[in-house]
Assembly symmetry: C2
Homo-oligomer: 259 residues x 2
């Protein structure tokens, strides 16, 4: 990124001819990466305003239009939120409107009443090979393991098994989770641990409910469930969460838009 330095005047074009030689990328992509890096370093926290387009333009020595294009992409990825007249803000999982950004279950009919979350377990374990690979850590390193049940409209509907790198989530305990009842997990991760989930990849299968899961959802063994395998990433595209969810889909369904 060291090629963002010289200033341009008049209509002199500043095409991004990198010094390194290896990879080329347009200026606005470089700006985007710089903004992402600043977000990753915690320079601006979720919910806060970032500097105006002109301030960023001055800081990075480019025109406002170039900053705009970088911010446009980050806004399209829900990482930033523009608010006309007010500024551009860092997205947060605590805002009511994007609270369930990553929960794709919708009701077959009618409303979705307030969701309830019950934590059944929160303990430290050691990473097995699969978790280590997915989370880009070493086998045997510390993990936080959380099991919880989500209840929609009084009906237990989701069992989540969540695995987090212990190094990033020091001090995450049952009592901390209990102390933040009603706060979405991803919101708590943001405020308490400075870890923002920005993107996730899911793999979905149909499975038969095990005895264990069936009991938690008050259903019969072998009831068909969605098994949703999720890996979540931060600003810097590092994987920081592994989550296996079992979704009961008789009253709710997983919705998706293909484009």
């Amino acid at each position: 990124m060291s090629d963002i330095s010289a200033s341009a005047t008049g209509s002199e074009t500043k095409q991004a001819n990198l010094a390194g030689g290896a990879s080329f990328s347009p200026l606005y992509q470089q700006i985007k990466q710089l903004v992402l890096r600043a977000l990753d370093m915690g320079e601006w926290k979720p919910g806060e305003v970032i500097p105006s387009e002109f301030e960023l333009a001055a800081r990075f020595q480019v025109s406002q239009g170039t900053v705009r294009k970088a911010v446009d992409e980050l806004a399209a990825e829900n990482i930033l939120i523009r608010r006309q007249g007010k500024g551009t803000f860092v997205s947060t999982h605590l805002e009511p409107n994007v609270r369930f950004r990553f929960l794709r279950l919708a009701a077959s009919e009618g409303r979705t009443s307030p969701t309830q979350s019950h934590v059944l377990s929160c303990q430290r374990i050691r990473a097995n090979a699969h978790a280590a690979q997915q989370l880009d850590i070493r086998v045997g390193e510390s993990l936080v393991y959380i099991r919880r049940v989500l209840t929609f409209d009084e009906v237990p509907t989701v069992v989540d098994d969540i695995y987090l790198p212990g190094a990033l989530f020091k001090g995450l305990t049952s009592s901390l989770l209990e102390a933040h009842q009603g706060v979405p997990l991803y919101g708590l991760f943001e405020t308490e641990f400075g870890v923002s989930m920005v993107r996730a990849q899911e793999q979905i299968r149909a499975v038969a409910a095990s005895e264990e899961i069936a009991e938690l959802l008050s259903i019969k063994k072998n009831t068909p469930l969605l098994c949703v395998d999720r890996t979540s990433y931060t600003y810097a595209d590092r994987p920081v969460e592994l989550r296996i969810g079992f979704y009961l889909t008789d009253k709710y369904y997983y919705r998706n838009t293909l484009i």
Copy 2:
């Protein structure tokens, strides 16, 4: 859209103050709608080039930058494809790279070999209440009903039940489908019937395989399957296909990216 008429000179701004009064929308959104309308009218067919940005700018009496923004959005929605040096093309389901744009099943391990499609049924039926509502037609109107099985790597994996408005798909018969073996259905719909699927909405559940479906997939009854309920839309956002898919997910999974 009648407010796209007067020409602007110099730095005189042409903000989109509509005549109708009801709804306002930025110029580039109006251009986008005009392009969509042209696509819907079949002015440019899938695979063809559309006019250059400057030509479109002249046609709609706006600057090239405004056309660019409209085309940008359409390209982001995979409706148009930009090719530097060549032009902007209408997307098609026949291109190898986007052939399986709407099929989200990926292999758990390794490759996905050529998919085989076997049509089991293709007949005219009358729309029931549900289909009529979803497809925005009247109960009792003619539908084309197709049942087919998709086979991946020699393993029957998907059963699709497809419902199409008869009025749009006159002449769609088993023999026509057989005559186009190897061509994806959506590709055939484009070339033979001028119907382009541009967007789709899916609702996913886990279900137990019925006797009937189990037999088609060579599995045991009650095996858990993904049930994927899809409604597909054209350029003008009219629903033109209803599809219920049953996916066997022991070797394949449904993948999804959350942003």
